[in-house]
Amino acid sequence: MPLLTIPGEEAGLQVMDSLITAVLGYAVVFFGLVLLMVVVTMIGKIFAAKAAKAADKAPAEEPVTEVKEETDAPTAPGSAGDVKLHNVEPKIAAMLMAIVADKMQKPINELRFISIKEVE
């Protein structure tokens, strides 16, 4: 029975037709998602390139003096200085500090974090 004439509620499928349909169906799913993967990867690269361009432009536009002013700026009231991060992303560290402050029911600027280290 040729593959394209399989439909028909009454007729049972031949084993070979059924196997071919199964293999073909799996291949179509893979093809569709691989195609999508290529497209998504390309979109990601385009946006990453745009973001890199924007990042390259941004510091050039800022006057050097302003940067210096920023680094010399006094710390916020209640700040206890820098926290040492050992193998921890700044984002994760910020999240951990926020969680600790929340659990302790204390404002974050009243707590002093000395270092955060990932336990292996």
């Binding site: 059924s18 349909t21 179509v28």
Partner: protein, 400 residues
């Protein structure tokens, strides 16, 4: 008015009389069995919390349709409809409440509206930050096609086998849409199998995860993925709609609604619509869908050997899909030099977010500092797209 005659008439027209007088000849015992099954489903939904939002409605539909004399659902009307003898107008005129609800299943409206809500609740960020996840979503559709093959060997017709196979996609709305189009007589058992196994994923998957991976592989910590920009998240649903629907036009309803829901969430200017799709609309459609699918569990269709086969093939499909995802996960682990934890492959079976949670839990058992959830969400949402493509293919091959 003669009180005796009135009481006799009340008795004669009651469901109790229908069950007792037709206990053997008219299948009264079958009604009792179905009522018992409905009670078991209530127990599974309420006490065991197996997909309770759907299971309670399915059980209620099953109960109402099997109470003799209630006349809320007429399978004979739908048989005539399938034969082209009557139309939706006749169903509206002659049908009961559940017949009218069922029109939404038959037309494919409810599954698509559910997908709209699912899209509005889904964050495709993990998928966008790691597009390779799509391969795992594809691999985990293996169970769909192997169960389809197995069902044909057991003598099911092509459309029936396709409907049984799609249980392996672990995606309720997709299974309901495919079955309502291809084999509506199997809708009840297929929906029950799909939702029960989705609820049982924490029991079904872990043994195969442990069997197919080493402790060292399960303990692999994956690197943090990149941050995805807002614009990428807005562009993604539009691009997916264009590419997938151009590839398989039969997926237009499911993928279109899924991606529209996601666009409503991500575009930032339709918060009210996104909120409605996620909550009010989703809840209303869930009630209508579960009741009307449950109503198809009429004794004559449900109490058959086919139901047993469907239940068995359903779990086989789930297991094979898990195995498919794990095997490709292992391959990717090897090709990446041990940077990818193969457990995330098992999350490719859809069933968002349950499968991703199971991958995370198993990863943490091997290494308590391992957090795989966000990495597993990529294959998990890829599985939703993968199962929709698989359904589109089967509808294309076996659809009328």
């Amino acid at each position: 008015m003669n009180i005796g005659e009135t009481l006799l008439k009340l008795w004669n027209e009651s469901g109790f009389n229908a069950i007792i007088s037709g206990f053997l000849a008219d299948g009264g015992w079958k009604s009792l069995v179905m009522i018992a099954i409905a009670c078991v489903m209530f127990y599974l939904g309420i006490v065991k919390k197996f997909e309770p939002l759907l299971m309670v409605g399915l059980a209620a539909g099953c109960l109402l349709t099997n109470l003799p004399g209630a006349n809320l659902y007429h399978s004979e009307l739908w048989t005539a409809f399938m034969a082209g003898e009557i139309g939706f107008g006749d169903i509206l005129h002659d049908g009961g409440l559940l017949d009218i609800f069922y029109i939404g299943v038959k037309t494919g409206v409810y599954p698509c509206l559910i997908f709209l809500g699912v899209g509005a609740m889904t964050d495709f960020g993990p998928l966008l930050s790691n597009p390779k996840s799509l391969l795992l979503g594809a691999a985990a559709q293996m169970g769909v096609f192997l169960a389809f093959f197995g069902a044909t060997l057991l003598g099911f017709t092509g459309p029936e086998a396709a409907s049984i196979g799609i249980i392996g996609g672990a995606d309720g709305p997709t299974a309901i849409l495919t079955t309502s189009r291809l084999a509506p007589q199997l809708l009840g058992p297929i929906a029950i199998a799909a939702y029960t196994y989705m609820a049982l994923i924490p029991l079904i998957q872990p043994p195969f995860m442990k069997l197919l991976t080493t402790k060292k592989e399960r303990a692999i910590k994956m690197e943090q993925t990149r941050t995805v920009s807002k614009t990428e998240k807005i562009v993604f649903p539009i691009v997916v709609t264009i590419f997938v629907v151009l590839l398989l036009p039969d997926t237009a309803a499911l993928i279109g609604c899924l991606m529209l829901g996601n666009l409503l969430k991500e575009c930032g200017v339709t918060d009210r619509l996104s909120d409605t799709a996620q909550n009010a609309l989703m809840n209303i459609v869930t009630i209508l869908l579960s009741l009307s699918v449950g109503a198809t569990m009429v004794a004559e269709n449900f109490l058959a050997l086919e139901t047993f086969y469907i239940i068995v093939l359903g779990v086989v499909a789930f297991i094979l899909s898990t195995v498919g995802g794990l095997l490709v996960g292992k391959l990717m682990c090897w090709l990446s030099g041990g940077k990818i934890n193969p457990l995330i492959g098992a999350a490719g079976v859809s069933a968002v977010p349950m499968a991703a949670r199971v991958a995370n839990t198993e990863g943490q058992k091997a290494n308590p500092a391992n957090f795989l959830l966000m990495h597993a969400m990529g294959p998990n949402v890829a599985g939703v797209i993968g199962s929709a493509i698989a359904a589109g293919f089967l509808l294309k091959v076996f659809g009328a």
